[in-house]
């Protein structure tokens, strides 16, 4: 039984259908990339899955439970973690604190109004672990807002991973990074994604990154799924080339 089952996901603004009847299944710990030209509806699809955007039609089942109407926080506490196209981190708090908040999101007494210092300390050690895995440990005490753009992207991934999610959504993790930074990020992501027991949905423009990280690829075009399968097969698919590389209609 798959972790995530999306049936007929649609989002329309008036006549324009940003996402048009997309079905998507994802198994436990499966890593899948979603690619497509700009405006293909990738981010819209993810926003609907993560509960950030209301669905015009379609259903989402997560871990066997019907979650179509749930809000983002509700989905998050069910084990969905995500990074955003525009980095969403707490600029005024230190990098360590940001990641610790990720760890805290899974702790049972996370809403304690008083005390909880033991759980907080334990959270910090776990957080430090994720910072090291994303090579940010040396800037643990730096306010997140003062980190470089690339590091902020990595920090956001660290926060998401710290939540030990069942499903991790990464929205263009290497966007705005230099070639060198991108290669470093891909190596880091490859390591952590293998280690973490989480399924991953990845949105990425850089095909090298996609083919490096994702065994399975889904291709969106004009809101519709035009290909879904192992990387090599999709790569050779002429419909993909048609939409992507060749004569765009």
């Amino acid at each position: 039984m798959s972790l995530l089952e999306c049936r007929g996901l649609t989002r329309a603004w008036g006549a324009f259908r940003a996402v048009d009847g997309v079905d998507l299944d994802l198994a436990e710990r499966e890593i899948c990339a979603v690619i497509g030209p700009n405006g293909a509806g990738k981010s819209t699809l993810f926003a609907m899955i993560a509960g950030n955007l209301r669905k015009s039609a379609g259903t989402v089942r997560f871990d066997g439970e019907e979650v179509s109407q749930l809000s983002a926080p509700a989905l998050a506490s069910r084990g969905v973690a995500r990074s955003f196209q525009i980095t969403a981190i707490c600029p005024g708090l230190t990098a360590l604190e940001n990641v610790r908040l990720g760890v805290q999101a899974r702790q049972p007494l996370r809403w304690r109004p008083f005390g909880g210092s033991a759980a907080m300390r334990e959270g910090e050690t776990r957080a430090l672990h994720w910072l090291e895995r994303l090579s940010l440990a040396d800037r643990a005490q730096t306010p997140a807002g003062e980190l470089a753009h690339g590091d902020q992207r990595l920090l956001e991934v660290a926060v998401a991973l710290a939540q030990e999610p069942r499903l991790l959504i990464l929205d263009e993790p290497t966007q705005g990074m230099s070639v060198e930074e991108t290669r470093r990020t891909v190596d880091l992501l490859h390591g952590v994604m293998a280690e973490a027991a989480t399924a991953v949905l990845l949105v990425e423009h850089d095909l090298d990154v996609v083919f490096a990280l994702a065994p399975r690829i889904v291709v969106l075009h004009r809101g519709r799924k035009i290909a879904d399968g192992p990387a090599a097969q999709v790569r050779a698919d002429d419909a993909v080339q048609q939409a992507y590389l060749g004569g765009l209609d």
């Binding site: 809000s71 506490s77 981190i89 707490c90 005024g92 999101a105 996370r110 304690r112 109004p113 939540q163």
Partner: protein
């Protein structure tokens, strides 16, 4: 800005408490009122400093706490400590529905909604003569049920100092607690807070209710201190003054607003004793502080130390 070290703050409060036995009578009474205002400013700092929700209507819970405690002590002789706590709880209970409406918005809309609720409180209190005494207010409120040693000037001062210390511990405990850190996360980035599984509105409501609870406690202590409550306590100028105390002291540090309250209180009190035109000098003082002390007085303290 990071809140200061709690041990230092508790020491300062203990020092202020002990001063009652050193200072001449009138100076103690003055300091008691200043400590109550410090508690009031502390409660607002939870909203303005920690959750970045600027409230223009913080006179609302302050006056509500005063009226609740005043009525309890005047009509039913409820002992003061219980009246103060019950008044705080009553204010917190009312803060839930009010908060649910206010925290949905932010920025100036939140400020104006809180102002509107405080003014609504003023309108209700002025009209409801039977219970609130209308524009004459409630006079002759006894410090019910207090043993003589606590009802006297020094005793009441110590009681206020104890309440202030407790309120500070509650506030400091809250902002360093897991929930307190989530409030900070919501302040910093709502989208990230949602992605961490927290509903921003409900999280903001917790800090809103705690802030109103402490403001209600401060108001109740004032009712016991002055023995009189009147609709003026609801007035928007009171909200303006406490907001100025918080900003003057340095929002977000808990100790800053408490110091801001003392500085504001003594500046207005001493200046108005020196000259009828105290408004001119106090106004110019604020303008200069804003320009040359960006992070408020605590900013100055931090920069020099």
């Amino acid at each position: 800005m990071r809140p200061a070290d709690p041990r230092l703050v508790l020491l300062l409060i203990a020092l202020a408490g002990v001063l009652a036995f050193v200072l001449p009578g009138h100076a103690t009474t003055l300091l008691t009122e200043a400590l109550i205002l410090a508690l009031f400013a502390l409660s607002l700092d939870l909203l303005v400093g920690h959750a970045r929700l600027t409230s223009f209507g913080h006179a609302g819970p302050w006056a509500l706490g005063a009226y609740l405690a005043g009525a309890m002590m005047l009509s039913w002789g409820v002992p003061l400590p219980f009246a103060v706590l019950l008044a705080g709880l009553g204010t917190a209970a009312l803060a839930i529905p009010i908060g649910w409406l206010c925290v949905r918005t932010g920025g100036v809309t939140f400020a104006m909604l809180s102002l509107a609720f405080a003014q609504l409180g003023y309108a209700v209190v002025v009209k409801w003569n039977a219970v609130t005494g209308g524009s004459d207010g409630l006079a002759g409120i006894p410090r019910a049920g207090l043993p003589d040693v606590l009802a006297g000037r020094e005793g009441y001062h110590l009681l206020v100092a104890v309440f202030l210390a407790a309120a500070y511990l509650v506030a400091h405990g809250f902002i360093t607690s897991p929930l307190g850190r989530i409030v900070a996360a919501v302040r910093e980035n709502e989208q990230r807070a949602e992605a961490l599984g927290h509903d921003p509105r409900r999280i903001r409501l917790t800090v809103f209710v705690l802030s109103y609870f402490l403001a209600g406690i401060a108001g109740a202590l004032y009712a016991g201190f002055a023995g009189y409550v009147s609709p003026e306590l609801f007035f928007w100028t009171v909200s303006g003054h406490v907001l100025v105390m918080v900003i003057l002291g340095g929002a977000g540090t808990l100790i800053g607003p408490m110091l801001g309250a003392l500085v504001f209180f003594y500046a207005e009190h001493e200046l108005s004793a020196l000259t009828e035109s105290w408004g001119l000098f106090l106004g110019l003082l604020f303008i200069l502080v804003v320009i040359f002390a960006p992070r408020g007085l605590m900013g100055l303290v931090r920069r020099t130390s």
